[in-house]
Structures are given as structure tokens and as C-alpha cells.
């Protein structure tokens, strides 16, 4: 399964890129598992995802919790808590 992943704000800065295409293995089923899998991709990822509790996610442009399933997702985004307005 190929998924487009987007990173914003300090998650983007720590990972070192704004987006990429990834192919996680089939046993990565949830947003939380995907963060754990990404954290093992290298030291930049490990730094970005060191504290997954403070990272928010969206699946196909809707907010998603860590336990949300990623099956069928086209686009998943990771970002810090929002500070707009």
C-alpha cells in the first residue's frame, strides 16, 4: 500500500522534508503504528516522532486519532497541535 505522507511545522523541520511517498508493511494498521514505524526509519524520524503523544494526524484531510485505521488512506499528515487564528 503506497501512501502520500505530509509533514508540517516542526515535524517537517525535524524529518527534513515536507512530503514523501511511503509503503508501510501490512502489519502497520493504525496511525499510531505508522508513527512508530516512521520513527524507525532513521535518526531524523526518530527525533520527529520521539513523543508521538504531542503529534496530531489527519487521514485524507480529516483529523484522525492514533487508533484510527489507515487502510485505504491516500494521504496522511502529521503535525503539531494547531496554533492558527
Amino acid at each position: 500500500m503506497s501512501i502520500k505522507v505530509l509533514y508540517f511545522a516542526w515535524v517537517r523541520e525535524r524529518v527534513g522534508k515536507a512530503e514523501e511517498q511511503i509503503e508501510p508493511p501490512a502489519d502497520v494498521e493504525t496511525v499510531g503504528q505508522l508513527m512508530a514505524w516512521l520513527a524507525r526509519k532513521g535518526e531524523h524520524y526518530a527525533y520527529a516522532f520521539a513523543n508521538p503523544k504531542v503529534i496530531r494526524a489527519a487521514i485524507d484531510r480529516s483529523h484522525a486519532r492514533a487508533e484510527a485505521r489507515i487502510e485505504g488512506a491516500n494521504e496522511i499528515a502529521f503535525f503539531p497541535p494547531m496554533t492558527g487564528g
Binding site: F8, A9, R61, A77, P81, M82, T83, G84, G85
Partner: protein
Amino acid sequence: MTTSIRLQHEPIDIAAEVAKLAGARSDVGAVVTFTGICRSDEDGAAITALTLEYYQGMAEAEIARHVDEARARWPLLGVLVIHRYGRITPGENIVLVATASRHRQAAFAAAEFLMDYLKTRAPFWKQVETADATAWVEAKTADDAAAERWSAPPPRRDAAK
């Protein structure tokens, strides 16, 4: 019902936008506007600018969802949300929320509801620039609490009749 949602880098011409919102109709009795402005300090330190990053596509969709929610809760005749992105210097506007209704209560409540949700749910991130560094603004628990109070079931629309 007029709905307008826009993301732009340029400063917001507030007077022109508000005139457009109410101007075309004669049943509007109240327009509430909220303008967010870039302060010259953040957590006690002087800042030279703010830079706003956003998630294109999701930001518009998320604001539209909350405008729909506001329309379902209050009898609105118009809603306008404009949010800026990019580099913004102190004194410039950042965001405009304007709501139009027959009476003031709905317009006040809807504007506050939309701002509380923009703060905590719309995918925007502020970075502050000081004389010698940049830092991402941290989310405030007070903003989460402000958004949370709207999760109680809304009052019935016909309760005041």
C-alpha cells in the same frame, strides 16, 4: 445564506469585506466581526514577525465543516472567514471572522464558536521571529478549553420563542 472562506497572503481589507457580507441584503440586523492582529510580543519577548504555515486543502475543508456546524446551530444569514498565511508583521491583521444574522445573539455566538474552533482545529501553525531566532508557537490549553465548551449539545433553536 452567503458563505465565503478564503486563505490569502495579502492583508485583509476588513471594511470592504464586511460591506460585501451585509450589503446585498436587507434582512440582516446584526453583523459581528472578529479581527485577529499580530502582537509585537509573545510570552514577554519582542517579536519582529509571525510566519503562518497551513495545510492546503485541509484548512479550507476544516473551516467549511465548522461553518456548516455554525449554520446548523444558529440562524445565520452570512458567514465570512478569511485567514492569512505567510510572513505577517506586528500590527497587521491575521484573521477575520464575520457573521451576519437578523439578531445579535446568533451573530455573536457563531463568531466566537468559529474563532474557538479555528484556534484548535484548523491546520495552521505560527512561527515567531525574534531579533535572533525563530520558534514555533505552542498550543495553549486555554484555547482547547475554549473550544471544548461548545461540545455540549447546542441550545434548541426554538428555545427563545
